[in-house]
Symmetry: C2
Subunit: 332 residues, 2 copies
DNA sequence: GCCCTTTCTGTAAACGTTTACAAAAAAGTG
DNA sequence: CACTTTTTTGTAAACGTTTACAGAAAGGGC
């Protein structure tokens, strides 16, 4: 491996000068600069990043904690992060936290070991105290999920208002018995979506039976099973608003398995606008989240923090939008 | 930040002893070991990994090059890699290569800079010479795509035989006019799948018109458009074998848009068995690849190489299997 | 030519570990 | 007890950079 020392010798200058040329940080005379560049070229020199990291105590690397890369929503956000990172010379260390709650320790270890300069979490499914610690000791940014009561930069959509928007849409086009299949209710995001749904009903002075609200877990299977449950109610809903597209697809197929037509007999809508939502048949009415932007904004904020900038505003709310397709029975 | 020096002072021993306790590499008397452990605990010491990396010139990190994390196939393999890495104390640095061909330079730079000990590529879409260089200078492992003529450890399924298996299945259940929509034919994998298809036809002494073979690019849109093309042939096929599930879904919808029923009027099958393949309607007959295993095996090999072991066998072929669902019209 | 700035360069000390080597301590052996 | 062998410890030199500091060179003004 060629080192800076060898380059210095080859160019007939000191190591300091070589370093200065590399980093373009300080004035170097034209003549020496050229000699150095030539030497670098000749020896095919590449600086050892680890040594630089050690000296500068900056790694230009951010740890990204993803609950499940397999989930298209997360992988899209991750793509946004990665793209932005690429453009700015940062690197992404991946932490695929299948069961994040058991991995807290490991997570804190990685941070303490200085391998990364910052951390972006696509989930806030950890103890609040841990989140607080990470926020003050390291450069934390949350994406996708807002958490109450601590002041950490967060980028997400306004789940309450988008959920309200969706519910309003269903009300407007005439549905009166709207059920909701939520995500796990220990996740803020699920609670918010439920909240928005309730607000819309309240504003429209509509009342729904308790059984219209079912707690799922964002999975296809949950959507399927809970829909069977909803359909067997004495007075089944005429519309189902699922908190994820995957659950909505499960809902559609559960209904179809009972010979029920979508959207003729019942409307079913989702959330996220994953690619399949438009391919699926019937195409799903859903809420599109600006996943790539969420990712890049999160990375942008993380970089700002890592470079020492103080972030005054802590909530970054990006615009989602309602996408009306066939599954809600409203033809544009 | 607490350093090893402070721990040493606190415990009343030398830094070497502390290091030895940490790494469990050398004998340390019980008494001192305990003193050190206590001191570590008291000071909440965590070793600075970067410093260790520099000294040992090992980073326990592997660079994973993924063409597109958004693609469920890749994200599954990545999950396999990540899981195995986690278990063995390795880390994954993500390189999302949207257009890998333009990023060769960047890739080589990262390797030269010693930030990673090895590299796993989920694509071989780079110049062969580059691959060769990576293979000899760094610890390269290929996953998913085999490349001819260089001796780099590769883990994948046997695309030729699985494609032949699928085609045979279609022949067996009675189809005689089987078309194939391939991936990009500058990718080995696509060529292999095409090859398998042709072999099966050949063995069955079947001949198909040239127009039955269409080059796509694995995308839904390609599947859709090429199917429209196939259907408007004078003698349209009675079965379409798409080289990816996504293309198969496009094919299904293209057919449906023409009022053609699947599988009654035409069979359509895919490849990969992504989650949607079973949810989609009609459920897709497809080839299931052991994605998680591909990932973990690749990581296993990478670790072996990084730890200096010489890998004698260079091809690791994992078992795929045919999954028969509704879309091929064969009821089990 | 002299003095004062300004610009450029080199020396050497970090950064926080690991580890070769030597020295010290402990354990065996007769 | 004296000697040898084994085990445990500490000292200090790496690893390959960056950068504070001081010194040299160059430029400007008179």
């Amino acid at each position: 491996m060629t080192t800076i020392r060898e380059v210095a010798k080859e160019a007939g200058v000191s190591v300091a000068t070589v370093s200065r040329v590399m980093r373009e940080t300080d004035k170097v005379s034209k003549e020496k600069r050229e000699r150095v560049l030539e030497a670098i070229d000749r020896l095919n020199y590449q600086p050892n990043m680890i040594a630089r990291f050690l000296r500068t105590s900056k790694t230009r690397t951010v740890l990204v904690v993803v609950p499940d890369i397999t989930n298209p929503f997360f992988s899209n956000v991750l793509t946004g992060i990665q793209n932005y990172a690429n453009q700015t010379g940062y690197h992404v260390l991946l932490f695929n936290a299948v069961n994040i709650r058991n991995q807290n320790h490991e997570l804190m270890e990685m941070l303490g070991q200085k391998q990364v300069d910052g951390i972006i979490m696509l989930t806030s499914q950890v103890e609040k105290s841990l989140l607080e610690k990470m926020n003050e000791a390291y450069n934390l940014v949350l994406a996708c999920e807002y958490i109450d009561g601590i002041d950490v930069p967060t980028v997400a959509i306004d789940n309450i208002s988008s959920s309200r928007k969706m519910t309003n849409h269903l009300i407007q086009i005439g549905y009166r018995k709207i059920a909701h299949i939520s995500g796990e209710l220990d996740i803020v995001l699920s609670v918010d979506r439920l909240k928005g749904y309730k607000q819309a009903l309240y504003e429209a002075s509509m009342d729904v039976p308790n059984a219209y609200i079912q707690e799922g877990d964002f999975s296809y299977e949950a959507g399927y099973n809970l829909t069977l449950k909803l359909l067997s109610l004495e007075e089944p809903p005429d519309a189902i608003f699922a908190a994820s597209d995957e659950m909505a697809m499960g809902a559609v197929q559960a209904a179809q398995s009972k010979g029920i037509q979508i959207p003729e007999d019942i409307a079913i809508v989702g959330f996220d606008d994953i690619k399949m939502a438009s391919i699926f048949s019937p195409a799903l009415t859903t809420i599109a989240q600006p996943t790539l932007n969420i990712g890049s904004k999160a990375m942008e904020l993380a970089i700002k923090r890592m470079e020492g900038e103080v972030i005054n505003k802590s909530q970054y709310i990006l615009n989602d939008h309602l996408i009306v397709r066939k599954s809600c029975g409203y033809h544009v």
